[in-house]
């Protein structure tokens, strides 16, 4: 167990790097995913096609392939940058497809009668959207969106494995490969690092879910 305490600063840096990757990727994928979801439910067919193909491509393609494509493909067409940003870009592209589906299923879960009733009462399109449809849709979106983000946090380990470096996965790799530390304690330290993020995250999600729950 001493290995965790002896290398505490290394673990802390790894933990912070993981958090950093996750923070950028979460913001990016939420924004992009919501935009794509907007495309997917838009009345304009070409936008719908873009949304649908986006989701089908990134949901069915392994994250590793997306990452390799970003890291080796983008420099080929003259886009250069730090590995860190290639990693974050890959994670954002991949996660945005899942965010999009979560948001879209939320919008679809609102019964058609709700919007019809809003119209019957005489609300305009914007009013019905902002006071009737979206408030209900957002609440339904919370649980699936939360699990998407938690999955994304775990997927950030792949970004680390793939060579961005400095995150929790990389710490485990360094300690076991180059320093030859005992594997099991190192593993426990790394896993704890992820659990510290995912378990409170899951609990907070459950709390939020109960808080925004609506009876239907």
């Amino acid at each position: 167990m001493n290995v965790i305490f002896d290398n505490f600063s290394l673990y802390r840096d790894g933990f912070l790097q993981t958090l950093k990757i996750c923070a950028f990727a979460a913001i990016g994928s939420l924004v992009l995913g919501t935009l794509i979801a907007g495309f997917r439910v838009s009345p304009v067919p070409p936008l719908r096609w873009v949304g649908t193909s986006w989701v089908n491509v990134f949901r069915n393609c392994p994250l590793t392939v997306v990452l390799f494509f970003c890291a080796f493909g983008l420099p080929e067409i003259g886009v250069n940058g730090a590995y860190f940003w290639f990693g974050v870009t890959g994670l954002v592209l991949y996660t945005s497809a899942f965010v999009c589906e979560a948001v879209r299923s939320g919008i679809n879960s609102v019964p058609a009668g709700q919007a019809e009733a809003a119209r019957a009462v005489g609300l305009t399109f914007t009013q019905s959207l902002s006071t009737v449809v979206l408030p209900q849709a957002l609440r339904t979106v919370v649980p699936p969106l939360g699990s998407v983000i938690i999955a994304m946090i775990k997927n950030s380990a792949i970004v680390g494995a793939f060579g961005v470096g400095g995150d929790l996965f990389a710490v485990g790799d360094t300690l076991t490969s180059s320093r030859g530390e005992a594997v099991l304690p190192v593993l426990i330290g790394v896993v704890l690092g992820y659990l510290v993020i995912t378990i409170p995250g899951g609990l907070a999600l459950g709390w939020l879910e109960r808080k925004v729950a609506i009876a239907r």
Partner: protein, 293 residues
């Protein structure tokens, strides 16, 4: 049409607006694609020597490249198949113990389930390849990959099956008990067969996750598609073309699997309209997206 909640049926004026919007969006889309193509062309990505080894049978490297890709695809499918079978067995056991066992034991199972769910798959695979040899289990990389994938997916499948059992009407179990069946019989004869049936679409969707996750074998040098693609790129130095091909292979297989899941879902819900609802593939999408790359 999925948009019915948001919009009225379009009238003549809206139809015209939608048409204008479509034209503008279409033009923008074409513009973006054209810019991308120009960029690719400028960087010589359309040069024949980048594509020929992959798509021109008369190219001297063509047979070797496709032989390697074929082997790699085989390895990927083998790893995915083994992982699914093991996950199903272990997952069923976990689900059954969680439903039937004594309380303290059930808590232990819940603990293991929650722990494994929180661990990234790639770390499970990586450390399986590091920890197990220390306990004298010196296996091929294939088995480390399968063990890592099973550790995560068996837990997810256990949750799917448990949801399936819980979705059954209570009367099913009660009727079986009142007939005098023992607990094990109630499960194996009455509950599990129905749970599997209800959960079939979700289980097929989980296949997609497993298949995608086999690509994590690259961290332990298992020769699956992504790793072999890397080797090909080192020789031919055409990453865009090779990774595009690999992506297309994955997308085709996974898209077919997802369509199949939706098809089974429709089939099942047609078969028994009044009976228990089939838990749709999308209902447990949260569990599905738990999977990694």
């Amino acid at each position: 049409m999925s948009t019915s909640v948001l919009y009225d049926a379009p009238g003549p004026r809206t139809k015209r607006r939608i048409l204008i919007g479509s034209v503008i969006a279409g033009l923008l889309l074409l513009g973006v694609l054209a810019l991308l193509a120009l960029r690719l062309d400028k960087q010589h990505q359309f040069d024949i020597e980048k594509w020929a080894p992959l798509f021109d049978p008369s190219n001297e490297q063509f047979p070797l490249v496709w032989q390697r890709i074929g082997e790699a695809l085989g390895n990927t499918l083998v790893a995915a198949g083994l992982a699914v079978v093991f996950s199903l067995v272990v997952g069923t056991l976990l689900a059954v113990t969680r439903v039937t066992a004594a309380r303290w034991y059930r808590w232990a199972v819940v603990g293991v389930v929650e722990l494994l769910r929180g661990v990234p798959v790639v770390i499970a695979i990586f450390f399986a390849s590091r920890v197990l040899p220390q306990f004298g289990l010196d296996l091929e990389p294939l088995w480390f990959l399968v063990i890592g994938l099973t550790a995560y997916n068996s837990v997810v499948i256990a949750e799917i099956i448990r949801a399936g059992i819980n979705s059954l009407p209570k009367g099913q179990g009660e009727a079986a008990e009142s007939l005098g069946l023992r607990r094990g019989q109630v499960l194996s004869l009455v509950l599990l067969p129905q749970a599997f049936r209800a959960m079939l679409p979700a289980l097929i969707s989980q296949l997609v996750v497993v298949l995608k996750d086999t690509s994590l074998g690259f961290v332990i040098s298992y020769e699956e598609l992504v790793r072999v693609a890397g080797q090909i790129v080192q020789v031919l130095s055409n990453p865009i073309q090779v990774y595009l091909l690999i992506a297309v292979i994955f997308i085709l297989i996974n898209y077919a699997l997802s369509r199949f899941a939706i098809f089974t879902e429709r089939r099942l819900s047609q078969g028994k309209k009044a009976a228990t609802a089939t838990l749709s593939a999308t209902d447990v999408a949260g569990a599905g997206t738990g999977g990694g790359g």
